[in-house]
């Protein structure tokens, strides 16, 4: 069955396969495709922003469109590109790393993906229906409550859908890691990427409800005449900022921690050394997650919370530099004395250390509440968060993609093009954002459509735009690389990098049941232990037997489609009564699918022992 899957199937059959799949590896690929597409969209928006700012008082796009661009760039990159790309890597790799045959809830996994995708489509539909959201990716009230048209409504409904999807993904990963580790895989033997997936899932579980609540309040304010954020009617517009950042700050750790995890795996693999300070790395991760909940108000120093609050949040924020520093030093010490291989995955990881450290340094600067009055809402902050998010998360995603591409797609990315991508993107990134620190310090404010000439901002902005083109070039080379690899790339062996963790113990790409027999884990870096003891492959922990597999299902797709349609109903019921048909119709489809799912027993199927024996190793 698994072999037949790769042999000439019609397009419709492949499409149906992916629409109904509950296999974590295929869902991982879907996340990567969709996230990649949104990454390109967000990148296009970024290019338009940079072209608008190439010279003083430029007229490339109108002021209103510029607001829509910056809003959609931020929202798309955070929610629809970075998160899904990371979720895709987690989905594809984490179950392999713990020696599981799938995630705990395959159906929920598929539902999470489709909810995310429909949420993303929802947001982008707004371009064609009279204007995208234009109140910034943070959608601060009262700007967002008073924004005319339906743009912000699309923001609310789109993020609500995709947020629900992410929440499902987080819960699913938690249960998977708690319950489905292979025999011998104790918590303190899990690879760092699995550890960070685990901690990130906790963050998702605790942080996303705050966003959900905030979005619901905004939804009621905009669509049903409530006044949660309307000061004139006794509301409080600051509540939005608190709710948004109680979610939003953990969100940035949700983004960066998986990158930390995969860098740890990559450094250790390509240095041929056990990760230095494994235990310290694990506890630093947990500590970052814990502190991540105590610092949200540092985004609001200039709101006027008072000196006590500002001081406490400033100190709590600076405390985060400690576990992060532990991590940086542990990576350096992992490299120290290692037998280092430098390839594209390793280049991204090595490039990450100085880039991210710069972002962390400016992070401590903006964390100083007093100084932040100067930095707030200037390009200094823009430079800061692009250094951590591009220099940390995007570098991480690209490193992870180069590292795990063979495992996910069965082919090795072209090294030459990989290096070209790295160097152009790396140079372009620093060209774009390093100068923005100084633009900010010279007083250039964020989110402004134009700047005046002869204020010392002209050259800096020009350099920044040139850098953006370098980055775009790097991304295009990566795309060509991906297509080239898919067509005539080198077929990957099971273990192309001389790996240490369990995912390299099975073929690339893995069979749909992952492990024929669950492996016995005898320590940290289990595959490496077997290699060092001369065996080279994992010892099975169980006799060969029937494998229980879940059936595919179209219900997640239909359910998400239902809620997608209902969202349009919610948005347009303020103008047209006919929208109620969409509202109730969509809800009926969504809730009906839930009912079908609850009432219909689906026990899955078994791959028999005989079938497994027939398939060659």
């Amino acid at each position: 069955m698994s072999n037949a899957a790769t042999q000439n199937k019609g397009f419709a059959a492949v499409l149906w396969d992916y629409l109904t799949t509950v296999d974590h590896k295929k869902i991982g690929k879907l996340y990567l495709y969709a996230g990649g597409l949104f990454f390109l969209l967000g990148g296009l928006e970024a290019m338009i922003i940079r072209i608008q700012l190439i010279k003083p008082e430029n007229n490339f796009i109108s002021a209103g469109l510029y607001n829509e661009m910056i809003t959609m760039h931020g929202t798309t990159m955070i929610f629809l590109a970075a998160m899904p790309l990371l979720l895709g890597l987690m989905n594809a790799i984490m179950p392999l790393q713990i020696g599981a045959r799938d995630v705990a809830f395959p159906f929920l996994n598929s539902l999470g993906f489709w909810m995310f995708l429909f949420g993303g489509i929802m947001l982008n539909v707004s371009w064609f229906t009279g204007g995208a959201p234009d109140s910034g990716w943070t959608a601060y009230a009262p700007l967002s409550t008073q924004s005319p048209g339906h743009g912000v409504d699309y923001y609310v409904m789109g993020l609500q859908l995709s947020g629900a999807g992410t929440l499902m993904g987080g819960i699913n990963f938690l249960v998977t890691i708690v319950n489905m580790r292979a025999p011998g895989m104790t918590y303190m033997r899990m690879p760092l990427f699995t550890w960070t997936t685990f901690v990130v899932s906790i963050l998702i579980l605790f942080a996303f409800p705050a966003l959900t609540v905030g979005l619901f309040l905004l939804m009621f304010d905009r669509m049903f005449g409530a006044a949660f954020f309307d000061v004139a009617l006794g509301g409080n517009s600051i509540i939005w900022q608190h709710l948004f950042w109680i979610f939003g700050h953990p969100e940035v750790y949700i983004l960066i921690l998986p990158a930390f995890g995969l860098f740890s795996d990559i450094f250790s693999t390509f240095s041929k050394k056990r990760l230095f300070g494994y235990t310290a790395m694990v506890f630093a991760t947990i500590l970052i997650a814990f502190l991540g909940f105590m610092v949200w108000a540092h985004h609001m120093f200039t709101v006027g919370m008072g000196p006590v609050a500002n001081s406490i949040f400033a100190i709590a924020t600076m405390a985060i530099a400690v576990p992060t520093g532990i991590k940086i030093f542990n990576w350096l010490l992992t490299l120290w004395g290692g037998s280092i291989t430098i390839n594209s995955a390793m280049l991204w990881s090595l490039g990450f250390i100085p880039s991210f450290t710069l972002g962390g340094m400016t992070g401590v600067m903006v964390a100083a509440a007093v100084a932040d009055y100067q930095y707030h809402d200037t390009y200094f902050v823009v430079a800061h968060f692009h250094y951590v998010i591009v220099g940390g998360v995007v570098f991480g995603i690209l490193a992870g993609l180069h590292y795990w591409w063979p495992k996910i797609f069965g082919r090795i990315l072209h090294e030459g093009m990989g290096k070209l991508t790295f160097w152009t993107f790396f140079i372009g990134f620093h060209l774009t954002f390093f100068i923005q620190h100084f633009l900010g310090l010279m007083g250039m404010p964020r989110r402004y459509w134009v700047f005046l000439e002869d204020q010392g901002l002209d050259t800096g902005n020009l350099i920044s735009t040139i850098g953006a083109f370098f980055m775009a070039f790097g991304v295009i080379v990566f795309l060509i690389n991906a297509i080239y690899t898919a067509v005539k790339g080198e077929k990957a062996p099971a273990d192309p990098w001389d790996g240490r963790t369990l995912e390299w113990a099975i073929s690339s790409p893995p069979p749909h049941y992952n492990f024929k027999q669950l492996p016995l884990v005898r320590g940290l870096d289990p595959l490496w232990i077997e290699k060092m003891e001369g065996k080279g492959k994992m010892t099975p922990a169980e006799p060969l037997g029937d494998i229980h597999m879940p059936n595919g299902s179209i219900i997640p797709f239909v359910m998400s489609l239902g809620f997608f349609i209902a969202s349009f109903g919610f948005i347009y019921q303020t103008n047209y009564d006919i929208a109620y048909i969409f509202l109730f119709g969509g809800m009926a489809i969504g809730l009906g699918s839930m009912l079908v799912r609850s009432l219909k027993d689906d026990h899955g199927y078994h791959i028999t022992k005989e079938e497994l024996e027939r398939e060659a190793d």
């Binding site: 906790i202 909940f293 609050a309 406490i312």
Partner: protein
């Protein structure tokens, strides 16, 4: 914990255990209803606020405890991780609310 419907096996030990468990569940259930009735009575009789509010809060806490430990089986073995998560979540929420009420003045 799996509910064994395998009646062909006269496992008296497990049968007794299930019976005990059922009795505990019933007792907890009855207690929960009694607590709820007490709460309503307290409010209906218009008791003094200084007495009523702490009493209601106390009853609420006990009910949450019953919910977690009996109905959601946190008293049983193998529930360390769910407990950790629940208490972690409660902790994060309390800290957040404390910060909002104590040090932020709006």
């Amino acid at each position: 914990m799996a509910n064994n419907t395998n009646t062909g096996n006269p496992d008296t030990f497990h049968k007794q255990k299930h019976k005990d468990e059922m009795i505990k569940q019933l007792i907890t259930f009855v207690l929960m209803i009694v607590f709820t009735i007490i709460a309503f009575v307290v409010v209906l009789t218009g008791m003094d606020k200084f007495f009523a509010i702490p009493l209601l809060l106390l009853l609420a806490v006990v009910q949450v405890g019953f919910q977690f430990y009996y109905f959601m089986h946190m008293k049983d073995k193998g529930h360390e991780m769910p407990s950790l998560m629940i208490y972690g979540g409660i902790g994060a929420a309390i800290v957040t609310v404390l910060a909002l009420t104590l040090i932020i003045w709006w």
